[in-house]
């Protein structure tokens, strides 16, 4: 066990953990930030996606020690001042979910993609999202939602 500090959604959390513990487990089990989901434990489904310095990573295969000194953003930190992010709004508008378990990972990845490339085409979105599984099969809606969100993000600094 070592004492470390991680920065999540703008808040510093001093924690006492095994540095090899997965970031996913630390977020969920130590900090009670349960919006980030476990799906497979081997970076195959994308449910555990969070941003590290704006880059999407799979927190289930990332040791917490690797996140020290970086800014971590989870689904709980995507809405700002209780204003939903355009990607979150679009998921609601389009109804781009069924059970909603994959939704946080999809949204976090989508936010990272559209910040980089708001004009992403359907094909580019599908390619960027290939590492995410929606077992309910809402893929077409997720693409529609991300395209809509991209439109509203164009020219704006998110």
């Amino acid at each position: 066990m070592v004492a470390i500090e991680i920065l999540v959604n703008g808040t510093r959390f001093p924690i006492d953990v095994d540095p090899q513990q997965s970031l996913l487990s630390v977020l969920r089990d130590e900090l009670d930030l349960t919006g980030t989901k476990y799906g497979c434990g081997e970076a195959q489904c994308g449910a555990c996606t969070v941003l590290i310095d704006g880059q999407p990573i799979r927190s289930c295969v990332t040791a917490v020690s690797g996140a020290v000194g970086h800014a971590i953003t989870t689904i709980e930190g995507i809405a700002q001042n209780s204003q939903l992010h355009p990607v979150q709004k679009a998921f609601l508008d389009i109804g781009a979910m069924q059970c909603g378990y994959c939704t946080p990972g999809m949204i976090v990845e989508g936010v990272a993609l559209l910040r980089r490339r708001p004009e992403a085409t359907a094909g580019e979105i599908a390619e960027a999202m290939e590492g995410h599984v929606c077992r309910c099969g809402t893929y077409p809606r997720i693409i529609t939602a991300l395209r809509q969100a991209g439109q509203s993000m164009k020219g704006k600094r998110p």
Partner: protein, 691 residues
């Protein structure tokens, strides 16, 4: 529910106690399941109006992504004449909601929607009475609307809350209470967004996996290395020495719990078990030969088959005759939220939060496992990360409760993906033998159909044929098997519809025309024609078509495929026409149909559980392929709204047409007829036999 079809279960359960003894399961537990309690008639069991006017509806159904929470809220709002926002549903909580057999078989829409409507209509009439009494006017003069009672003559109005003053609503919900017909719906029949959608896009919603309790520990369960293995001995010395770890051993069960998740994982790894193993029959290479040797007489062909006319006469008259065998592999549900439970004991009372489709059955399992009465057990089902028929049982709940009892702490158990892919039950594998004959015009004269193991759902043919023998043969499955979205309807439609295509090819008739010639059912013909028209049947190349009816839903699917240079098969377009009576929520219906099509692609093309010597080889997501973005075709959904027909459920049936329509498209593109699901797990050229 090994070998027992859902429909059979429902038939059995009509007012009688059903005892289903689970097959022996190794390394996990599953108890007896009971069902068949009476539906309560007191209004207060279903509906409450608080003093502030907020309305609570209670239902034992659960939300697993099918958006029943939304459709039931719409039904209540419609019937109560109250805004959706004023209504909250409590679902799947055995202490608070009326008994319910479970959320399966597409039964929520045909049974729970009318039940909620009857309760809400009863409440509305009661509110009308209360207002009439308060104002001393005739009850017929009271109008109920927008969450208020109004007197149009004086323009006075009163809120529901002020009328009931938060008191319990004492009235009987009559089973023949009249409810609003679909033409007069104002809230239902329209698209309404997922009622608690914002909680999902913000990460706020707590699934079972996200529940925490004060003092909660994390539990892990020791799994046997293979089906048929048992724990011979267990050395817990190292785990015991770790400190802060509870090692719990009871009969065949062994598990650990600790205050922190990594410690529980280390303690599990520190257990030193020795196993005794027994040889296990079959593997995924020989399963289809083995199943026919594993038949039981238990349920074979008893109620689901059809026997009439004379096959002998029919075959004698036939111009084209065909005999084919079709197979379907075991497949896994892969709900993205794995099985999970948090269990807490308080003064002998057990509370478990768990994602299950059958909260009351899980309550029974828990009561039995711990030898306590059902009143001492509360099962709460948070809106769950999907099920697809895969979450009917309570093994994870029992595991968490056992560890909670042994450790003296509330305990959370979340199955790993490996546990989920190994120890959850599967959609049954099956063999279907079909023998048939048609006249020179393609009219069916004889139809013989035997399904081994995969199940009797949708086993009967919707086509007109005078001479038929249809039979389901139950088998002792070497793997644990159970319910799945659409159940055997997918297997039976695959065999039946591909066979129809083969007969059409033999008689040189277009597949659509072949179906039309043999179909009388107007509702089925309507969806068939609608799908064909939208798809552009006859113009599109590499195209296949299939249709069917199941659980009150009528479906037709057209598929188009592209074969790449390495034999990879890509479904490029799917058109689905669906009719399930009056549509409750058009957008959510479309969402279900789209999802079923997407899911169906997996079972059609590549999903398959591999196993050998009692071990599941496809025990990780990296070894078990599910449909991804790159598998997504262009999807076009045609819905037919029949306001004159009661609504049927829609979560399952749209899946059944995918595999056979894709099979037809592959044949059109390549001349290769495939008789096995999955059709192309490793691409076309290497796996497909030439027909």
């Amino acid at each position: 529910m090994s070998g027992v079809d859902r429909r059979e279960f429902l038939q059995l359960a009509g007012g009688v106690i059903v005892l289903l003894t689970a097959p022996p399961i190794f390394g996990q537990e599953s108890g007896r399941r009971t069902g068949g309690q009476a539906v309560p008639q007191d209004l207060s069991a279903w509906l409450n109006i608080a003093e502030d006017g907020s309305i609570t509806i209670y239902t034992g159904k659960v939300e697993v992504g099918q958006n029943a929470r939304t459709s039931l809220t719409q039904a209540a709002a419609d019937e109560l004449h109250a805004p959706m926002e004023s209504i909250r549903l409590i679902m799947g909580d055995t202490d608070l909601t009326p008994y319910d057999m479970g959320t399966f078989g597409s039964r929520t829409t045909p049974t729970m929607v009318p039940q909620i409507r009857r309760a809400a209509a009863t409440a509305r009439e009661m509110l009308q009475d209360l207002a009439a009494r308060q104002w001393s006017i005739d009850r017929a003069a009271v109008i109920i609307g927008d969450g208020r009672a109004m007197d149009p003559h004086t323009n006075r109005s009163i809120t529901f809350g002020a009328l009931t003053k938060g008191q319990k609503l004492v009235r009987t919900v009559r089973h023949d209470e009249s409810i609003t017909s679909p033409e007069k719906w104002t809230v239902a029949g329209r698209s309404a967004p997922k009622v608690n959608g914002a909680d999902f896009v913000t990460g706020k919603h707590r699934f079972s996996t996200d529940i925490t309790r004060p003092g909660m520990w994390y539990g892990r369960v020791l799994r046997v290395p293979a089906f048929g293995a048992t724990l011979a001995s267990l050395d817990t010395t190292a785990a015991d020495a770790m400190g802060g770890v509870a090692v719990v051993r009871e009969g065949s069960f062994a598990g650990v719990a600790a205050a922190r998740a990594p410690l529980a994982a280390s303690a599990l790894a520190a257990l030193k078990p020795s196993w005794s193993t027994t040889p296990q029959p079959s593997n995924n290479a020989t399963i289809f030969n083995d199943l026919k040797k594993l038949t039981t007489n238990e349920l074979g062909g008893r109620t689901e088959g059809a026997h009439f006319g004379s096959l002998l006469d029919g075959m004698a008259d036939a111009v084209y005759k065909l005999e084919r065998s079709y197979t379907v592999a075991y497949i896994a549900h892969v709900p993205l939220e794995p099985r999970a439970a948090v269990a807490e004991w308080n003064n002998g009372k057990l509370t478990v939060w768990t994602g299950t489709q059958r909260p009351f059955a899980v309550r029974s399992e828990l009561a039995e496992a711990f030898h306590i009465s059902e009143e001492k057990v509360r099962v709460i089902v948070p809106d769950t990360g999907s099920g697809y028929g895969g979450k009917h049982t309570g093994e994870c709940a029992i595991e968490a409760a056992r560890l909670a009892k042994g450790s003296g702490h509330p305990v959370k158990v979340v199955w790993t993906r490996e546990e989920e892919l190994t120890w959850a039950y599967f959609r049954p594998a099956g063999v279907i033998d079909v023998r048939s004959g048609v006249d020179k015009d393609g009219k069916l004269l004889a139809w013989e159909f035997h399904n081994y193991n995969s199940g009797p759902a949708a086993i009967r043919t919707p086509y007109e044929v005078q001479n038929q023998h249809i039979e389901y043969h139950a088998c002792n499955s070497p793997l644990r098997q159970g319910s799945y979205r659409g159940l055997a309807a997918t297997a039976n439609h695959f065999a039946r519809e591909v066979h129809m295509d083969e007969l059409a090819a033999a008689a040189k008739i277009d597949p659509l025309e072949m179906r039309r010639r043999n179909l009388k059912d107007a509702r089925l013909r309507a969806v068939l024609d609608a799908a064909a028209e939208r798809f552009g049947w006859g113009k599109a190349k590499n195209a296949g078509i299939a249709c069917g009816v199941e659980k009150g839903g009528y479906t037709a699917t057209c598929a188009e495929v592209r074969i790449d240079s390495s034999g990879g098969v890509h479904v490029t377009r799917l058109v689905s026409a669906f009719e399930c009576g009056a549509i409750v929520n058009p957008d959510h219906l479309r969402n279900q149909i789209e999802g079923a099509l997407m899911m169906g692609i997996g079972g059609a093309l590549f999903e398959s559980v591999a196993f050998q010597d009692g071990k599941i080889l496809t025990d990780r997501l990296s070894k078990y392929r599910v449909p991804r973005f790159s598998d997504m075709p262009q999807i076009d959904v045609v819905t037919i709204d029949r306001k004159d027909i009661s609504s049927a459920g829609a979560g399952e049936t749209p899946i059944v047409g995918v595999a056979p329509s894709v099979a037809g498209a592959i044949f059109a593109a390549t001349g290769v007829r495939i008789h096995a699901l999955p059709m192309v797990p490793r691409g076309l050229e290497r796996t497909a036999p030439q027909s």
